[in-house]
């Protein structure tokens, strides 16, 4: 979960225009439920089918055990390892929520049979080698980077971490205490944006293995024992769940060595968790109460749409147009932040999204079998909480009803043709995409995206938007101070008037007239208020 030893520039106290990194954690791999039917003969446009009542779990692909993915880059002096296990918080046993993440942390940081945790740090430190784990809903990644000067020593350590873990009781206690603090403090108290996103996950996937925080619940973490961790490691970090990624100056000998060593992992372990269908119930709201200056808003709905579906690329373009993450070109960013000054940023996502720290790009290897579409409104002053939510709904509705204007379509397409290249500029990210493609069954994902962009028209995108975007299906998570009052507003839906400190254009004021009373698709009997102190308790 945390980078272990990584040293480079610390750009301290830097503030960014578009918003500095917000790390969250959640999200695995979706599976393409809908058809694989290529858009072959431009079928007569299928009009919006009846909305599904649930999203089934169409399983992701299963690459063969110890599948090797190599991105050779002989010119680079840095060797990258990326071990991607098809296991995540969905594999946490009931009552032991947080077990997969804690197990991964204990492997990555807790030392090996030959090295205590302190000796592990001492060995990695002079190399400035990186060795980290990160767990999500369905996937866990062990990533390593090292300069080729230190490859042999690092290779031993990196593989020992998985094959010969120390399982020290002391390290177990330390890392569990840290994980508990991440829930009690990090999640509940110190980051309203993350709390809003985790609350949305909990709401969308109620009763589903995605529902709990990847880092665990308070009771779950408290009940985990070192024996649980040992047993879990053997059950989930197995050959049949592992894809091995190697990049940089990688020769055949290295490939052979790595595969051969990792074939000492157990061949298989726990049966795969069968994910239940997720009901597409919309209109629910979860209001998390805590002391805070502002109101954080996340909204979304589960969808069968995922990578591999012919509508995935056009919907991705449409949501990039509506709100590309932390870029200034999106409709929501322009309308809510730039013109109205409501907050710091407003974005939309075609699949689960966790910002990779230091970038504005989605992390790789957070694929999910079941996916959702979401909109994120960064904190607003509480008085504008409902107005901002209505504003996002208004512009989403306009996208669905009116589509994307030709000129804006061209801009969004041009943007993505260039911008997507930036997503694959590091060895770790190239490996990440290649490995995601194995699970989604979407080879050459980014090339395919760009090829699809080249062929899209405003009409084809707008048609996909009408098929796939359903504002009425949204569910809402809020983090705010006066939660009861806020919930009452959601229930009664009085107008949300707004005043501005500066003159606004007539067209904006005209839009506002509609926004102020825009119906919130929230059912009065589906509004829930929870105190932050007990969120993710069990």
């Amino acid at each position: 979960m945390r980078p272990l030893v990584s040293r480079s520039l610390a750009l301290c106290a830097a503030l960014c225009l578009g918003g500095c990194a917000t790390t969250s954690q959640t999200a695995p791999a979706p599976e393409a439920p809908p058809p694989q039917a290529e858009q072959a003969q431009a079928p007569a446009e299928p009009q919006a089918p009846a909305a599904p009542t649930s999203v089934p779990a169409a399983p992701l692909e299963r690459p063969e055990p110890l599948r090797l993915v190599v991105q050779a880059n002989p010119a680079s002096p840095i060797v990258s390892f990326r071990l991607v296990f098809h296991t995540g918080s969905v594999d946490d046993p009931k009552g032991k929520e947080g077990l997969t993440s804690l197990t991964a942390d204990l492997l990555a940081e807790g030392g090996t049979q030959s090295l205590t945790s302190a000796q592990l740090l001492e060995a990695l430190f002079p190399m400035a080698a990186e060795l980290s784990s990160s767990t999500d809903k369905e996937f866990t990644v062990f990533a390593g980077r090292v300069h080729k000067d230190h490859l042999p020593r690092f290779l031993d350590i990196f593989t020992d971490v998985l094959l010969e873990p120390r399982f020290s009781p002391q390290e177990f206690e330390r890392l569990r205490a840290r994980a508990l603090s991440d829930v009690r403090n990090g999640l509940r108290s110190e980051n309203d944006e993350l709390l809003g996103k985790v609350a949305l996950d909990a709401l969308l996937y109620q009763g589903h293995p995605y529902a709990h925080f990847v880092g665990g619940t308070e009771k779950g973490l408290e009940s985990i024992t070192l024996e649980d961790v040992k047993a879990h490691a053997a059950r989930v970090f197995t050959q049949d769940r592992l894809v091995i990624g190697l990049a940089g100056p990688v020769d055949e000998a290295l490939q052979k060595t790595v595969v051969s060593r990792l074939s000492e992992l157990p061949a298989s372990g726990a049966p795969r968790v069968e994910l239940p269908p997720v009901p597409t119930t919309g209109g629910r709201a979860l209001v998390v109460q805590k002391p805070t200056l502002s109101t954080a808003v996340s909204m979304g709905y589960v969808t069968p749409l995922r990578r591999g579906d012919p509508d995935f690329f056009p919907v991705s373009l449409a949501l990039s147009y509506l709100g590309e993450h932390r870029q200034s070109s999106g409709v929501l960013f322009n309308e809510l932040r730039e013109k109205r000054g409501l907050n710091y940023g407003d974005y939309a996502y075609a699949e689960h999204f966790i910002e990779q720290p230091g970038t504005t790009y989605n992390r790789t290897n957070i694929a999910r079998t079941q996916q959702h579409i979401s909109v994120w409104i960064r904190p607003v002053v509480p008085a504008n909480g409902v107005f901002a939510t209505r504003g996002a709904l208004y512009f989403l509705d306009r996208l669905v009803k009116q589509g994307i204007p030709q000129e804006k379509f061209e801009l969004s397409r041009g943007f993505l043709l260039g911008y997507t290249r930036l997503w694959e500029q590091t060895d770790q990210r190239r490996l990440g995409y290649a490995i995601d493609s194995l699970f989604y069954g979407t080879p050459g994902f980014l090339e395919e995206y760009r090829a699809a962009l080249a062929k899209m028209t405003p009409e084809s995108v707008n048609a996909a938007v009408r098929r796939q975007l359903r504002p009425e299906a949204l569910n809402f998570a809020f983090v705010t101070q006066d939660a009861q009052e806020f919930a009452k507003n959601l229930e009664e839906q009085p107008p949300s008037p707004i005043t501005y400190a500066s003159a606004k254009a007539p067209a904006l004021l005209e839009d506002d007239k509609a926004i102020i009373t825009w119906p919130l698709p929230i059912r009065a009997d589906a509004i829930q208020v929870v105190p932050a102190q007990s969120f993710m308790e069990k």
């Binding site: 830097a14 110190e190 000054g341 504005t360």
Partner: protein, 452 residues
């Protein structure tokens, strides 16, 4: 209020600026050749060819940050102004820049720190010439309306809100306020909450701010990646050449010497881990001294992941959840800190004593030379590991060039780190890590972390 001033620009002039044009060979501390030109108007242009086919990173470093916010009530203005730089010109009114950025697919943003503001774009080489044009245009001819200015001030307020739940913002505010009574490092880069709320009234001041600091002699352009140097420089000369403003000699108040220990306490109203921080005032980062290099090593030496303190407090006794050094290069005298995120409030005294013992041991002459070597190795390899993309190379160059005021600062600084001797740590600790020169910050949460 009584203030003492030092001439700000002396710091800039104190380091050697390159000749009108220079080529610097690759070195162990920066493994790429670099070309540097200074235009007649004072603009420094740094180029580094890098293997990123079809892509370039383009960064503009303005040597202005919250350090330059000398007027009362105007804290946070450098950062706010960074936002305003996206608001258009006569030639490219608001929204036109976004069109160019979108057409090519640039990743486009900016950040501000205590000492500098960096505008960064990363994307296709095909858009480079157009980028030069729109970038030069906004630095020369920025123009925005008062309503647009007032609206953007609210986005900054939103930026404050998004961070307000995190203890670190309050810690920075209180630590700065306690240590710096005169110097502008006494306030954070985002600024005081009250000043942010008052920003919409400062339209006229914002124009002054632009004229004052956005001048070619206060700016370094950094381009890294796949481009034709002649074509680039031709475009740069054409579009930036006519930019002719000059930086004035505005002064930043000097901080009077600290004569006795200070302390500050925060009662945090929510649940978090308790904190204990030692912070000493230390000299400015300059390339004609080893102070920055020594502090870079010292942070890891005292509390890095292989330090005896880390092993004792975090791994063995588990009195602290995290331990880290707080040092970053600054133009003026700033601080060197040790930060402990405590496991629980009851561990405070033991952690404080351990900090004191470790500093005392060093100051009395005991130093582990092998650890100094390991830290230097870590720094050297860490630098190489951090240069994977055109953007990461450009960002590092920009940051060091912006702080030190010379394009080769990154390589020079890391060379200096490689030259740090164990004895340097002793001398530095004796001189600066004294009780009288220290401020202690304590933070106690309403509910101690882990004790829900």
């Amino acid at each position: 209020m009584q203030r003492r001033f030092i001439p700000l620009l002396l710091l800039l002039l104190g380091v050697a600026l390159p000749a009108a044009a220079a080529e610097l060979a690759a070195s162990p501390f920066f493994p790429y050749p670099m070309k540097v030109d200074r235009l007649p108007n004072g603009l420094t242009v740094v180029r580094v060819p890098f293997n990123s086919p079809g892509l370039i990173a383009y960064q503009t470093v303005v040597r202005v940050g919250s350090r330059n916010e000398v007027e009362a009530g105007k804290t946070g203005f450098a950062h706010f102004f960074e936002h305003m730089m996206f608001k258009g010109t006569k030639n490219f009114p608001e929204g036109e820049r976004e069109k160019v950025i979108s057409t090519y697919g640039f990743d486009d943003n900016a950040f501000t720190s205590d000492d500098l503001t960096v505008y960064h774009s990363y994307g296709p080489t095909a858009g480079l010439e157009k980028l030069v044009e729109i970038e030069a245009d906004r630095f020369r001819n920025l123009e925005y309306s008062e309503p647009s200015f007032q609206t953007e001030a609210l986005a900054v307020l939103g930026e404050y809100h998004k961070s307000a739940a995190q203890p670190y913002l309050k810690i920075e505010e209180e630590l700065g306020r306690t240590i710096f009574t005169k110097h502008t490092y006494g306030h954070t880069t985002i600024g005081h909450y009250a000043d942010i709320k008052a920003m919409p009234q400062a339209y006229q001041y914002s124009r002054t701010f632009f004229e004052r600091w956005y001048t070619p002699d206060n700016v370094i352009l950094v381009v890294v990646g796949d481009f034709n140097d002649d074509t680039l420089m031709q475009a740069v000369r054409k579009h930036y050449g006519p930019w002719d403003r000059k930086s004035p000699t505005i002064t930043v108040p000097a901080e009077p010497p600290q004569t006795k220990e200070r302390s500050v306490h925060i009662d945090w109203p929510q649940s978090t881990q308790p904190r204990h921080i030692f912070a000493w005032r230390t000299p400015a980062s300059r390339l004609d001294t080893a102070n920055a290099a020594i502090q870079t090593v010292l942070a890891d030496y005292l509390v890095g992941p292989t330090s005896p303190l880390y092993k004792e407090l975090v791994l063995d006794k588990q009195l602290a959840q995290e331990l880290y050094g707080d040092f970053s290069i600054h133009r003026d005298p700033h601080l060197f800190g040790l930060v402990a995120v405590l496991q629980e409030e009851g561990n405070r005294a033991a952690v404080r004593d351990a900090f004191n013992a470790a500093v005392r041991e060093l100051a009395t002459g005991k130093v582990d030379a092998s650890r100094v070597e390991a830290i230097k190795s870590n720094t050297r390899y860490g630098l190489l590991m951090g240069m994977e993309t055109a953007k990461s190379v450009a960002t590092q160059l920009s940051y060091f060039a912006g702080i030190f005021g010379t394009p080769d600062a990154l390589a020079v600084h890391y060379q200096k780190v490689s030259e740090v001797k164990p004895g340097d740590l002793i001398t530095f600790a004796k001189k600066y890590l004294t009780a009288a020169n220290r401020t202690q910050l304590t933070l106690t949460p309403k509910k101690a972390g882990g004790q829900n």
